[in-house]
């Protein structure tokens, strides 16, 4: 297993990308943002819900009748009085984009690239990313949240379902990791 997982040199410059922060420092920062969300708004952070709102909105544009008749999508479209994208998690995820881009630019890590090991082709890596995304969507919907909405948020609130979920994420991940190692080594 290669331990070369440091950020690469920024193309077109001699400046190497800055190293990542110490995980405990980044973790405290993340925890304080989560705490601020609890104190200010009375809810935690999330991500997968923003995808649902976006998909529901897109379907309502392309096939309005279908979106209206689909029970799941209907839940994200509401009664039509407010725009489906005017949702808390959509604004939060837009913030995630801005914050990540700011950090990436600051550290010289923002660049067009594909994250993969040296021995896997880009096409196969992207196919895996797509398949992983589909699985993730099903997992997050079954669990009522993803790593942020369930594990992080519910973990800090000692939510029963969140801790069961979090444990199973690691079980699921480790049980298939050996079969997927060619993607990274």
């Amino acid at each position: 297993m290669s331990s070369d997982h440091r950020p690469a040199v920024m193309p077109g410059t001699d400046r190497p990308a800055s190293p990542y922060w110490n995980p405990y420092v980044a973790g405290i920062g993340l925890g304080l943002v989560l705490l601020a969300a609890f104190v200010l708004v009375g809810r935690g952070l999330g991500a997968s819900g923003a995808f649902s709102s976006t998909v529901a909105w897109l379907v309502s544009l392309v096939a309005p009748a279908h979106a209206q008749s689909n029970e799941y999508l209907q839940g994200y479209l509401g009664d039509g009085t407010t725009h489906p994208l005017k949702a808390w998690l959509v604004f939060e995820v837009l913030g995630v984009m801005a914050g990540a881009l700011f950090s990436g630019l600051l550290a010289g890590r923002a660049r067009i690239a594909v994250e993969k090991g040296p021995r896997v082709s880009t096409a196969v890596r992207l196919l895996c990313a797509f398949a992983g995304g589909i699985l993730m969507a099903f997992g997050a919907h079954l669990a009522r949240g993803c790593t942020s909405g369930q594990a992080l948020t519910g973990g800090a609130l000692l939510n029963v379902g969140s801790w069961a979920f979090m444990l199973m994420v690691f079980v699921g991940g480790y049980s298939v990791a050996w079969f997927m190692r060619w993607q990274w080594r």
Partner: protein, 195 residues
Amino acid sequence: MAPFYKYGFFGDEMSLVLAFVLGTGFGFFLERAGFGSARKLAAQFYLFDMSVFKVMFTAIVTAMLGVTYLGWLGWLDLSLVYLVPTHLVPQIVGGLVLGVGFVVGGYCPGTSVASLATGRVDGFVYAFGIGAGTLAYAEVYPWLKEFVNSNDMGQVTLPEVFNLPWGLLVFAVVMIAVAGFSAATLIERRIGDKS
């Protein structure tokens, strides 16, 4: 008295502004930790870099201690902080599927957003996959609905289920985290030496 939004200190519009601001902080620290890179995230499952565990548990412990102390001081009404209802079996199955998706694709929803924002094509494709999966889920929802809503335990915390004091559970989580951090560092060294 907090949560401020629930006590009517500000309205819906302001809560959306705060959503963006809080998201900015979330994205910033995710990227700082290296979680915009699938290689860094996947490393957790190959044991030579356990940053995912360390960052996640540090964040959980920080926020957990924060709500605990603010609650004890009487400044935060924890009963007004939204808890996702527990549906044990669907959440166990969901966790397994999500864990597999994490290793196959290299991201979770939040980290894929941080990744695509910093120009990673695989992060973008992963997010596109989440969209496709959501669309597929919406189509099969009538068949999954009963299972997803089964096992309803309501909004429930570990101290309530085990009938133990909140403070004891908090102490236990902190101890488990500290032990986990030491174990993670030991494992990283072992695996790192071998490769």
